[in-house]
């Protein structure tokens, strides 16, 4: 299969972070996004683990894209993803046992994060290793950033702390609901509102430009029509 031409590497990196953010635009990977983001440490660990799995899987899938027959491609991708998730699980248990225990089954559940398989099928299997790595980095960074945007306010309001350090003082009464499941739904709702509001706000000037151009064209065409009508009258 030929490699499809496409956006530059920097564009690939940036679009995953913002314009095609996996959580806020594609609404993928919502299970860990809602479940583990009750603290910054959990959010960061899950984000980095997912990013590593995504990048390693994309690099391997892209490297082997010419050798994997179409008939067994999904099985092969799942095997590759499951392998890297197992490795991430082992490494996290060794280096951050407390967070590994806190994340529980969600580390293993990275295997079924459709965002990862989706990038293999939609991008890595059709592009070069470098471009696939940049795409995976962008999407992984976008996922991690969103988890942090969820985790920081939830920990701050729900526990009065940031990264475990108390920052709200002893008189602050924690909003316990923020570290419970409803707090996750509330935060994702707020983030989706914010993202869509921003998208509409930045899209408006462009629409206005298009409307202005259409109006100018209409104005330029009007005298000619008027002249034609005058000619006809004559």
């Amino acid at each position: 299969m030929t490699t499809a031409p496409g956006p530059a590497a920097s564009e690939l990196l940036l679009r995953g972070i913002w314009r095609e953010n996996p959580v806020l635009v594609a609404t993928l990977g919502l299970c860990p996004t809602l479940a583990v983001t009750n603290s910054i440490a959990n959010s960061l660990t899950m984000g980095i683990a997912t990013l590593c799995v995504l990048v390693c899987s994309s690099v391997l899938v892209s490297s082997a894209r010419k050798y994997v027959p179409n008939q067994v491609r999904i099985s092969t991708y799942i095997l590759i993803i499951a392998t890297f998730v197992t490795l991430a699980d082992m490494v996290l248990e060794a280096i951050v046992p407390a967070i590994h225990k806190a994340l529980g089954a969600f580390i293993a559940l990275i295997v079924v994060n459709c965002m990862i398989l989706g990038r293999q099928e939609a991008f890595a299997s059709k592009n070069t290793v470098g471009r696939s790595a940049m795409d995976a980095l962008g999407v992984g960074a976008g996922f991690t950033l969103t988890l942090l945007l969820m985790g920081a306010p939830r920990e701050l309001l729900g526990a009065g702390s940031l990264l475990g350090y108390n920052v709200m003082g002893p008189r602050f009464e924690p909003w316990v609901i923020m570290i419970l499941p409803p707090g996750g739904f509330l935060m994702i709702g707020l983030l989706l509102i914010g993202k869509n509001w921003w998208a509409l706000r930045t899209a408006q000037p462009k629409a206005e430009r298009i409307a202005a151009m259409a109006a100018a064209r209409a104005a330029a065409a009007q005298p000619a029509q008027a002249r034609t009508r005058e000619g006809a009258l004559v």
Binding site: V68, V72, T76, T83, M90, A94, P97, A105, A108, S125
Partner: protein, 217 residues
């Protein structure tokens, strides 16, 4: 990717050998990577588990500053390993020791199949009461948001004062000193923990009684 559809829209024929070798190769590579990383991380993981176990022992037997490991050899407890015995293969309990040198209670590790996977726990036991002194969940992969509530400190706190044997009752229905409240939404997981304690005590009570009576040391 090779093996895509051709101009007529049908997938080109790929030999079975190639399909098998692709999957086999991917599986072999996956296995190799997993074994390598497992071997590399194992010493650290074991050290972490040992540290967590030590913390848990001192937590479930309050008042302890250190502990002695007691092994079951020929049906009785002993603090000294027989020559050539492998400590990892022997059943064991831990005897909490206070700063003054007195015994503070036993820490008993046990496990039982929960809703998702095996739940590993360690609980403190005072044979003189008899009752539980504390409980720590060492390992659990119960359903996030439901079964994992067995790790909530509020639920674990009840095990510091219960008399044994335990009776599993609904949340809020505890009336007797041995009533252990289950968790609404995590009934199977919480019942498993309570059952695991009772089962472990059935086995350990005579052995601990014999040890306390000085039958074996």
């Amino acid at each position: 990717m090779s093996g895509g559809t051709n101009a007529t829209g049908t997938a080109p024929k790929v030999s079975s050998v190639r399909l098998l070798s692709t999957m086999g190769g991917a599986g072999a590579l996956a296995g190799l990577l997993i074994v390598l990383v497992y071997q590399f991380t194992l010493p650290t993981v074991l050290a972490n588990r040992a540290a967590r176990l030590e913390t848990a022992i001192l937590q479930v037997v309050p008042g302890s500053t250190r502990y002695d490991t007691l092994y079951v050899v020929e049906g009785a407890l002993t603090a000294t390993l027989p020559p050539g015995a492998d400590a990892r293969k022997l059943d064991k309990v831990y005897l909490g020791v206070s700063e003054a040198g007195g015994a503070t209670g036993f820490a008993i590790p046990t496990s039982q199949a929960g809703f998702q996977d095996v739940i590993e726990i360690i609980f403190g036991y005072d044979p003189g009461k008899p009752g539980t002194l504390g409980l720590v969940i060492l390992s659990s992969r119960e359903t996030p948001g439901l079964g994992d509530k067995i790790e909530a400190p509020r639920w674990l706190a009840q095990f510091t004062t219960l008399t044994t044997p335990l009776t599993a009752v609904k949340a809020g229905a505890a009336q007797n000193p041995g009533d252990a409240q289950m968790i609404t939404g995590a009934t199977i997981s919480s019942r498993t923990v309570i059952a695991a304690i009772n089962k472990a005590l059935e086995r350990w009570t005579p052995i601990l009684a014999a040890y306390r009576a000085g039958g074996t040391s």
